[in-house]
């Protein structure tokens, strides 16, 4: 259980985290979602006592991290894969961390096996790929068999097999009753991994809800209808108060009525349907709707000059 109350972090005049409050519950995977500069990493660093909050407090199982007597056995943290001395081997890095708690070297070998880095564990960490670095970071987070896992961008740089591994791993950790907080920019990944989403934007909590609820509330459900008489059906639906958007000559996207109602209407008028698909929005849609105002580093759309690019003359 991680509890933040009015947590703030200011760097000079800039407020990175602005009076954020949230709770991360055990037994669930909670996803931290937000654009760059939203305050995700800063919040995670404050949880583990690396950065001191300007105001408010954050506790892990009721205690401030800096007061813990055995932090590795309570909280496993992957802040970024680069938190490793490049000149030291992976195994010696883990040995040095384990030694702070008197954890046996047997445990070091175990986490090396779990993370799948046995073949490179005696090589210098400076030569590791991004993916291997991530696995080493996860191995370090597991050293004390902690009840809480805090993972900042854990799948960053991993290959598809590694992504799958992290996903299964955090799902299993949550099913064992552990508290898991992870951040990711990859919304498809988050949608498959997290149960609960906390969306941050400009240092504020924009949403804090179960994944399904978030998608439901911030996206619009539509029904995709394919019919040889799509235009005619569309007119009928508009007359009934629905919003209809044609997307191909025989396809319309209908917002408003549910699929069964559209099917019944078509049957009543003898219009053949080739497809009738309810579509809900994705987490991505929900995220973009939520953070539309809160993106700090927005990419600007190139101005449309109106003139088509002239075709090259042969």
């Amino acid at each position: 259980m991680i509890t933040a109350e009015g947590l703030s972090k200011r760097y000079g005049p800039k407020t990175a985290v602005d009076a954020v409050s949230f709770t991360v519950k055990p037994g669930t995977v909670t996803g931290f979602l937000g654009p760059n500069g939203a305050g995700k990493s800063t919040t995670m660093r404050m949880i583990v006592g690396l950065d001191r909050p300007s105001a408010g407090r954050v506790t892990v199982n009721g205690h401030e991290y800096r007061r813990l007597h055995a932090p590795l056995t309570e909280v496993g943290v992957l802040l970024d894969a680069k938190a490793v001395h490049t000149g030291r081997s992976a195994r010696n890095h883990l040995r040095a961390l384990a030694a702070t708690h008197g954890l046996p070297s047997k445990r070091v070998d175990e986490v090396i096996e779990i993370a799948g880095i046995a073949s490179v564990s005696r090589k210098r960490a400076g030569g590791f790929s991004l993916g291997m670095g991530q696995r080493l970071g996860i191995a370090a987070a597991l050293l004390g068999d902690p009840h809480t896992l805090i993972l900042d961008e854990p799948v960053n740089g991993l290959d598809p097999e590694g992504v799958m591994w992290v996903r299964n791993f955090v799902r299993q950790a949550a099913s064992e009753g552990r508290t898991v907080l992870l951040s990711s920019h990859l919304m498809s990944e988050m949608a498959q991994t997290a149960d609960h989403i906390i969306v941050l934007g400009r240092g504020k909590v924009l949403a804090d809800a179960p994944l399904s609820q978030l998608v439901q509330e911030w996206t619009t459900a539509q029904v995709r209808v394919r019919s040889p008489r799509a235009a005619e059906l569309g007119d009928l639906l508009v007359a009934a108060g629905a919003v209809v958007a044609p997307s191909a000559h025989d396809v319309i996207d209908v917002t408003g009525p549910e699929a069964w109602w559209i099917g019944d209407l078509a049957a009543e008028r003898g219009i053949a349907l080739h497809e009738l698909t309810p579509t809900s929005g994705s987490l991505e849609d929900a995220y973009l709707a939520l953070t539309g105002e809160a993106v700090e580093y927005r990419s600007h759309t190139l101005p449309d000059t109106g003139a088509p690019i002239p075709e090259a003359v042969a």
């Binding site: 932090p71 001395h85 068999d145």
Partner: protein, 274 residues
């Protein structure tokens, strides 16, 4: 994939907690598992033994008996150079953690920053003391052998002639390492910490000598320079009645440099974000 299942059963988890001895062990592993540490020690040993042997040979060819210069001076003189290496080793032991991000792993594993500072300082001091003592003993044996053939062997029988200077010289190496550690924590950048360490240990004493030709009104610069770490160290290692500082004051001065450096480090480390 057994994922998070582990050997650490909750019933025994209470055994695994932070303590000062464990922090010391962790820092010891960190220091001794870097190649740069052993390179520094190897270069220091080569310089110590090589320069001591060279001075000893020079003494034998000087013709007449010892005139001010003697065997133990030959053994401890290389410290004017090797102290720099000790300081740099101390500095990079800290700045290497900041430049690689390792410091975040270190402070997440042990959020008690005072303990981290103490463990790092103690480990570097002890490591440098032991390594230096071995180097100086080897150098002393070689110098003794070279001078022995000329009837000027070291007087191993009287502690204040050989053993005490060697212990004091080894302690000086520890002091210089801790000065490097302090600049490391204060400045965090490798280049900055090394420059500051070299400046304090090497450049300031040279600059102070420029004032030897200045008038009486500048004499305070020379007096103050006597309290620079390596100037004080000379008076601590080979005390003499003509030295500007007594041995006791010299040791106190070295201790004050360490105390000031580590207190400053603690003030910075405990308040700044990692």
């Amino acid at each position: 994939m057994s994922a998070v299942a582990s050997a650490v059963a909750p019933a025994v988890a209470g055994r695994f907690r932070l303590s000062v001895p464990r922090s010391l062990r962790s820092e010891w592993i960190k220091l001794t598992t870097l190649r740069s540490t052993w390179w520094s020690i190897a270069i220091t040993a080569a310089l110590t033994i090589g320069i001591a042997a060279l001075i000893a040979f020079a003494l034998t060819t000087a013709g007449a008996g010892p005139r001010g210069l003697n065997g133990i001076m030959a053994v401890v003189s290389p410290i004017q150079f090797t102290a720099l290496l000790a300081g740099i080793l101390g500095a990079i032991a800290v700045t290497g953690e900041y430049s690689t991000g390792m410091i975040r792993s270190t402070l997440a594993a042990d959020p008690c920053r005072g303990r981290v500072l103490v463990a790092k300082a103690v480990v570097l001091a002890v490591f440098l003391f032991l390594a230096s003592l071995v180097m100086f003993l080897v150098a002393a044996l070689i110098v003794s052998a070279i001078l022995g053939s000329h009837g000027q062997a070291l007087e191993w029988g009287s502690p204040d002639k050989v053993i005490l200077p060697l212990l004091s010289a080894s302690a000086t190496m520890s002091v210089c390492a801790l000065i490097g550690v302090s600049f490391g924590f204060l400045l965090r950048s490798g280049a900055g910490a090394i420059a500051a360490t070299v400046g304090l240990l090497f450049v300031l004493p040279i600059m102070s000598t420029f004032f030897a030709f200045a008038g009486e009104s500048w004499k305070w610069v020379l007096d103050a320079a006597n309290y620079l770490p390596l100037s004080a160290a000379q008076n601590a290692i080979l005390p003499s009645d003509t030295a500007p500082l007594s041995a006791g004051v010299a040791f106190l001065t070295l201790g004050a440099w360490v105390a000031a450096g580590l207190l400053g480090s603690w003030a910075v480390l405990r308040s700044r974000d990692a």
